[in-house]
Amino acid sequence: MTATQRALLNTLRLALAGVAIGLAAGPFFLADTQLGVLADFFSMLVLAIMWNLLAGYADIVTIGQHAFVGVGAYAFYAFAALAGVDPYLSIPLAGVVALIIAVPAMALLFRLRTAYLSIGTWVVAEVMMLGAGKIEAFGGGSGISVPIEILRAFGSTRSRRLATIYWLGFALAVFALGSTYLLLRSRFGVGLMAMRDNEESAASVGVNVTRARILCFLGVAPVLGITGAVITLQKLRIAPQASFSIVDWSVLITFIVVIGGIGTIEGPILGAIFFFVLREYLSDLGTWHLILLGVFSIAIILIDRRGIWGLVRRFALPADLIPIAHRSSSENTAVVEQAGLELP
């Protein structure tokens, strides 16, 4: 690593830290609309980080994670509006419900492999969405608004509410990023990355592949549920198509992570930023912006499957901004081949 590269790396790391601190103080200097956009950004970021953990590390590609977002949304409403539970408490409770639902879902889905598993998650999401739309207490097919008293618990004025929701989103994003970072640096995380690179070899050195997958799935579900609760506070209502929106909580998330860089920790962040910037400037393009996203993500996969971050690493930076790798995978590959083993 040259001196210039090292300087660049460190500057970027400092910048990242600075931005994080700045964001933490957001409500003190940002306007309401900006807070709203950023709160939106945080939710998408959390979903992206979770999807990336499953698809990029645990080899569970889901197209149905919006199921748990919707479950969280509806559970939050059930606890806060129907059961009269303290609204703040209802948020983690939403996560618990998502976790409870994740167990039988997982038992079903893990009978399927690879792409069938992916579509299977979609079927589960469809079932949940259709089921939610049948329940009258939740407003049936058209949904229902979150009662104003519940909203007031998060702040007496709209500005205060926006600030609270902003901080909730921010805290969730920090939690998601931080826990993923710690997870990947731990022994469990090393096992995950070995599994991602080569499942058979990983199993042969003692990584319990099934257990790793189960733990990841069950760990992600409650976070998705809590995010669903927070999103409901932003959207102010629950409804089958909105709370279980496949486009918002699955399709866009997938594009974000793929374009940013799947299987990297910087990827979801980059992708989310990229998407939000794009949305600001392309919002009047309507369907074209989805087409563009689709074309872009396919192009990225063909060029460098580590996304934009992959390109940055290839041409600009010699090391990760947020260091988690203990050894690059190409080195692992050479070692395995040298030992005379065939790679599949």
Partner: protein, 237 residues
């Protein structure tokens, strides 16, 4: 027309890399028409890698492989096989869910069309004709090896590369297989036999090469070479 005593296969300074690791290092060898050439060496010496490189399966290769004088560089395996080089892969590598006949038919489909057809294969391996409709995965090891050989022959190759055909088989079965080799030679096909078993392969070979850690350490005629010399170059000092 095949030119007698001209090299069917010429390997010049071939090196094969896996990443930074050199599995085959500057190998020179040649095979003439109608010859049986044996390549011996211990596990990991680079024998299989060498054969795979000849058939066009390796990514990073330096040096040259000439087939009938023509440089094979950049050709796909399908093109090379269609041109007359057939591989009997290590470990048989049959399609388990396909029948014996279907496995053989594939060999015929990918090769040159020539004088070897199913009749010739049934004549060489009568037991396969009995089992022609059985799924290849259900056959014994020796029978599977026969199918693999038959598949290679049906491609009507000018040169047949045999990778460890005796691996995992009982001695009596290996005897039967090796008894076929002279018949193949008699039909004009050059044969490369890669083996860990020194005795058998040197017994049929016209010439041999010994590979150690990717390099040719000894080359010659079996009749003119002492067993001690072979041992020394097989295992290294």
């Amino acid at each position: 027309m095949a030119r007698t005593n001209a090299a069917v296969l010429q390997v010049e300074g071939l090196s094969v890399f896996y990443g930074d690791f050199k599995a085959v290092d500057g190998v020179d060898l040649s095979v003439n028409a109608g010859e049986i050439v044996s390549i011996i060496g211990a596990n990991g010496a680079g024998k299989s890698t060498l054969l795979k490189a000849i058939i066009g399966q390796s990514n990073r290769v330096e040096g040259r492989v000439r087939f009938d004088g023509v440089d094979l560089a950049g050709r796909s395996t399908a093109e090379i096989v269609a041109g007359g080089v057939a591989l009997v892969p290590e470990g048989r590598r049959l399609f388990a869910s396909l029948s014996v006949e279907e496995n053989l038919r594939l060999g015929w489909a990918v090769g040159r069309k020539g004088s070897i057809g199913f009749d010739e294969v049934w004549r060489l391996f009568p037991i396969l004709e009995e089992r022609r409709r059985q799924k290849a995965g259900l056959l014994s090891g020796g029978e599977q090896q026969m199918v693999a050989l038959g598949r290679g022959l049906l491609a009507n190759p000018r040169i047949l590369l045999c990778d460890e055909i005796s691996l995992g088989l009982a001695p009596i079965v290996i005897n039967d297989l090796y008894a076929i080799i002279p018949t193949i030679k008699a039909s004009g096909i050059a044969i490369v036999i890669v083996e860990q078993d020194i005795t058998r392969s040197l017994a049929v070979a016209d010439r041999f090469y010994c590979l150690l850690e990717g390099r040719v350490t000894l080359a010659g005629i079996p009749a003119d070479t002492s067993r001690d010399a072979v041992m020394k170059h097989y295992f290294g000092e």
